[in-house]
């Protein structure tokens, strides 16, 4: 099976869906002639021309609203935000129009649109450019929120998102673009709302999605070396949320840590923590733990910015707590 990057997987999905459906087009800042700020759309202008690969001015609210109107009228836009930090300028259009037009019209219109781009911290970018904003979008009924962490998942889920008749927030990440993984050559799609158990285990459930997946996999490897078998549930999609897979894993391991790079307050992690408490209470041997970013804006300093985010050590400490082990029981080798 070919090994490709996350970036290439996203591009393949866009390319295949544009080839499949004339109504699909890509618009955003630098997507056409510049070939994408992160080179996701490389080559698409040459292949599809300026009618379907469209450079916009720097005017997030405006072009996001134009995408929404085009979707309402029957096209299937992919709107690229250079990063999700800039999506905040378009938030009114997304929340008040994309998420509401179907409702306010009593179901007369659909808004089949994908908003995609890198979300969450990269490196050395300080607080305006390092935000993980999924909790904000997940809060809004009327939006779907998808956050794949592997090239395989990214391609299959983006193709599904483009074919979906609702507004989909599709979260990528600058650091994930160069991650590699196996992606089959043939056509495939992955349904929204299906978590993927990335590792089987009996001792503790580690729930995560998007970029922290690698960190969680690394932690699970360390735990395995110390005789603890962690099960990793990669949510892949936040809305709809695969509660069945979450609960069946927690009911098996009886312990759960949620790893989420958002801020903790009213977050995806805190909501899932509540769901588990509500639905798996009798199965839990310990309170659910969450490992999120610290509740602070992101500093520029590298040592600080790394420590703001979830780390292997923070996850190990949380696993110790849900297993009632003394702090420091699970150590990385060399420590």
């Amino acid at each position: 099976m070919p090994v490709i990057t996350y970036r290439e997987a996203i591009r393949q999905a866009i390319d295949e869906e544009m080839a499949r459906d004339e109504r699909v087009f890509l618009m955003g800042e630098e997507v056409a002639r510049y070939n994408g700020a992160y080179k996701v759309s490389q080559g698409l202008l040459d292949k599809y021309g300026p009618r379907r690969v469209i450079d916009t001015p720097i005017t997030e609210a405006g072009f996001t609203g134009i995408g929404i109107g085009a979707a309402m009228a029957g096209l299937r836009p992919i709107v690229e935000w250079m990063t999700f930090n800039f999506s905040l300028l378009a938030l009114d259009q997304v929340i008040n129009n994309a998420a509401k037009l179907r409702h306010m019209s009593g179901g007369q219109v659909n808004i089949p649109i994908v908003f995609r781009g890198p979300n969450g911290p990269a490196e050395y970018l300080s607080s305006q450019h390092s935000q993980a904003l999924q909790s904000l979008y997940a809060h809004i009924p009327g939006l779907l929120v998808v956050a794949p962490a592997t090239p395989y998942d990214a391609k299959g889920l983006l193709k599904t998102a483009i074919r979906n008749d609702n507004p989909v927030i599709f979260l990528e990440s600058e650091l994930m673009y160069s991650w590699q993984g196996e992606v089959p050559e043939g056509e495939y799609t992955i349904p929204l709302g299906m978590a993927d158990v990335k590792r089987q285990g009996r001792d503790v459930t580690l729930i995560t999605y998007s970029k922290p997946l690698k960190l969680v996999q690394e932690t699970a490897q360390l735990l395995a070396e110390m005789g603890v078998e962690a099960e990793i549930v990669d949510l892949r999609s936040i809305r709809p949320l695969d509660e069945v897979t979450i609960y069946s894993s927690v009911k098996k391991t009886n312990r759960c840590v949620i790893v989420d790079e958002t801020w903790p307050f009213a977050s995806v992690a805190s909501h899932i923590g509540w769901l588990i408490s509500r639905n798996c209470f009798d199965y839990l041997d310990a309170p659910v733990e969450i490992v999120t970013s610290e509740d602070v804006p992101m500093p520029y300093n590298h040592r600080l910015e790394l420590e703001v985010q979830p780390t292997v050590d923070k996850i190990l400490r949380a696993v110790e707590r849900v297993m009632y082990k003394q702090a420091g029981t699970f150590q990385r080798s060399g420590q």
């Binding site: 134009i66 085009a70 129009n97």
Partner: protein, 323 residues
């Protein structure tokens, strides 16, 4: 305007549409007073010539209308059933938006009326998106996008005019300048008093239009629609008008004088146009009275329909969110 240049049926239809909107809005105000309608209810009384005159320039098989929250007039002018409109105000299941949108969110996609937006200026880029679809599919349609003087300083207005021009979208932006953004006189908050100069910043043809004269609105809009349809050139029309009622039902409109209101009522779009038609021998006072009776009957019937219609079932709250 030489009335003889127009088909009599067309001229009378304009009058009857304006009159229907007037009577509908009066009835809505009355029903609001009886607490049959709640929340925000922005009446269109005084501005009827704009929706009626401009929408008359469209072919709604291929053209589209999007507006803000003062949307009853546009919906009726597009051909929405007054029953569905009144039932929506009553929050009933038979309303145009199944009782989920209310006064600010009238939609009727069959008549290409795509809302009804409650955020000041929020519909402007969305309307350009509909025009984008027309261009993308090489269709022959045009979009009319309405908003008030309150929306003209929103960023999305300026962002959208720029993109409409660089992409040559078939859209006509219509600012209904009723002179007050809620309680604020536009002269207090605008760096320019002639909004049409703003078109020049984006090389978009723009002009001021007397929004109290239905035929002037019609001819100016028709010209802009032709430009959009044939050349893909967007236009911007500032239509000067006046609303007789407060911003919404809770607004006693103390920020303006009685004299000002009375002065505008003397320029009433329906009254003036009616007098023109009578003077031209195209209408008699009796015919006008019969027309008015018809409009009142339609609105009474709409109220009966709304009253008799069922509330939406509770489970409807979970419907019409995701496709």
């Amino acid at each position: 305007m030489d009335l003889q240049n127009y088909d009599k049926g067309f001229l009378l239809k304009l009058l009857e549409q304006m009159l229907l909107i007037r009577r509908f809005e009066e009835k809505a105000g009355q029903m609001y007073g009886l607490r049959k309608i709640g929340g925000f209810c922005h009446l269109y009384i005084g501005q009827e010539a704009i929706a009626v005159g401009s929408i008359a320039a469209l072919d709604l098989k291929k053209d589209y209308v999007l507006t803000g929250y003062r949307d009853h007039g546009h919906a009726l002018a597009c051909g929405m059933s007054p029953k569905a409109a009144m039932a929506e105000l009553f929050g009933k299941a038979t309303g145009c938006s199944k009782g989920k949108g209310g006064s600010m969110h009238f939609f009727d996609t069959d008549h290409h009326m795509y809302g009804g937006n409650g955020i000041v200026g929020g519909q402007i880029p969305v309307a350009a998106g509909v025009a984008f679809k027309i261009k993308y599919n090489a269709e022959n349609g045009v979009v009319l996008c309405y908003f008030g003087d309150g929306a003209i300083h929103q960023g999305v207005f300026h962002e959208t005019l720029n993109m409409a021009r660089i992409w040559n979208l078939p859209i006509v932006f219509i600012c209904e300048n009723n002179q007050y953004g809620m309680g604020t006189d536009f002269r207090r908050v605008s760096s320019v008093l002639d909004f049409s100069v703003m078109g020049g910043s984006y090389e978009i043809p723009a002009k001021q239009v007397d929004g109290m004269k239905v035929l002037e609105v019609y001819t100016e809009t028709a010209e802009a629609v032709k430009l959009a349809r044939e050349e893909g050139t967007p236009s911007f029309l500032e239509m000067k008008t006046y609303r007789y009622r407060g911003h919404s039902m809770s607004d006693p409109a103390k920020y303006r004088t009685k004299e000002e209101l009375e002065e505008y009522k003397r320029m009433d779009p329906i009254l003036m146009y009616k007098q023109d038609l009578i003077a031209a021998g195209l209408l008699t006072e009796d015919e006008y009275k019969a027309m008015d009776k018809r409009c009142i009957a339609v609105c009474d019937e709409a109220v009966r329909f709304a009253e008799d219609s069922p509330e939406p079932p509770l489970e409807a709250m979970y419907e019409d969110i995701l496709a």
